[in-house]
Subunit: 194 residues, 2 copies
């Protein structure tokens, strides 16, 4: 693995200053959440820093890189620029940033769409991306506090927000996000029933 | 097939007066939509009348009947009382009300969860259930008008409403509904691109 300074230099050249600042915010929030929930802080730091390492602006360039790396994506991902950079980012982090750790790579892969039965690190990166200090949507302060009290509850609320936002914008909703949310609700129910 | 009077008598005994009145509303709305969109009015009438023929109140009784008929449902359907009565209703309509028409049965099956690439009759029953005269939710008048102008648009909006309602209530969302909505958006996009 390269030094974190090398990684930061390469990252800022790749994704630009604005997204780099967002990535630093996600990194710091992820480290705080990792401390709270007993997750490896170094992994949280690296996953937070690199989660958007393939968030290139140009849709055709995203598709070209997906093709270059032989990444298999479903139709909805290919149609939707916002969804490509997670899976592509996991590959870019591995090949171009030298990250070998599977947990970090998986957190990058799933940070936009989520999935059923996420690992703690995957949950932390998903939520950190939602509540990092640069986010200013209505209610963000509540989400920030809640994330440090109830990780699964905060994860579900952030998915609720995402789903309603996509509905309001008339955009496609990836089935993984629905499966992830349904899974969390089933877990809540089984905990209540227990 | 029994006479429509026999069917109405049997239906009111099965589901009670309140739900029977709702079913008459769906039936009448479905017939109006069928006229508008060139669909067989008799099929729309029967599908509208019988769409809730298995909407029994008791969850255990619903599950018992599913088991009696050897109906295969996914886990989410089995957990969710609201989702069972569509598939079960298709079977009850066939066996107990003597309906043989596959299009009618399919409209009953999918009237709650929807699916990709729905038939005109399936769309009509789904929307009629949403806008029948007994419905009083905010914005229902807009939905009623829109259904007679743009069937697919109205279908998508009713799914949008359903998804947001389920999110707000913390309830599971069936993947079919998301697939159905994504399908409609993809169709809209391909029409715009054409």
């Amino acid at each position: 693995m390269k030094s974190i300074l090398d990684i930061k230099e390469k990252l800022i050249r790749t994704i630009g200053e604005k997204r780099f600042i967002h990535s630093i915010g996600v990194m710091e929030t992820a480290v705080d959440l990792a401390k709270k929930y007993g997750v490896d802080e170094d992994k949280a730091r690296m996953a937070g820093l690199l989660h958007d390492c393939a968030k290139y602006r140009d849709h055709l360039y995203l598709l070209k890189r997906v093709s270059d790396f032989d990444i298999i994506l479903d139709d909805m991902m290919l149609q939707n620029k916002e969804l490509i950079h997670g899976p592509l980012g996991a590959k870019v982090a591995e090949i171009e940033f030298g990250i070998k750790d599977k947990e970090i790579l998986s957190s990058i892969y799933y940070h936009t769409i989520g999935k059923e039965d996420m690992s703690l690190l995957e949950k932390i990166i998903y939520i950190a991306d939602f509540i990092e200090p640069g986010r200013t949507f209505q209610g963000v302060d509540f989400h920030r506090e809640y994330a440090f009290k109830h990780l699964d509850g905060a994860l579900r609320l952030s998915m609720d927000n995402t789903i309603k936002h996509l509905v309001d914008k008339g955009r496609l909703i990836h089935l993984n996000t629905i499966k992830a949310r349904n899974y969390l609700i089933s877990i809540e129910k089984s905990e209540l029933d227990a």
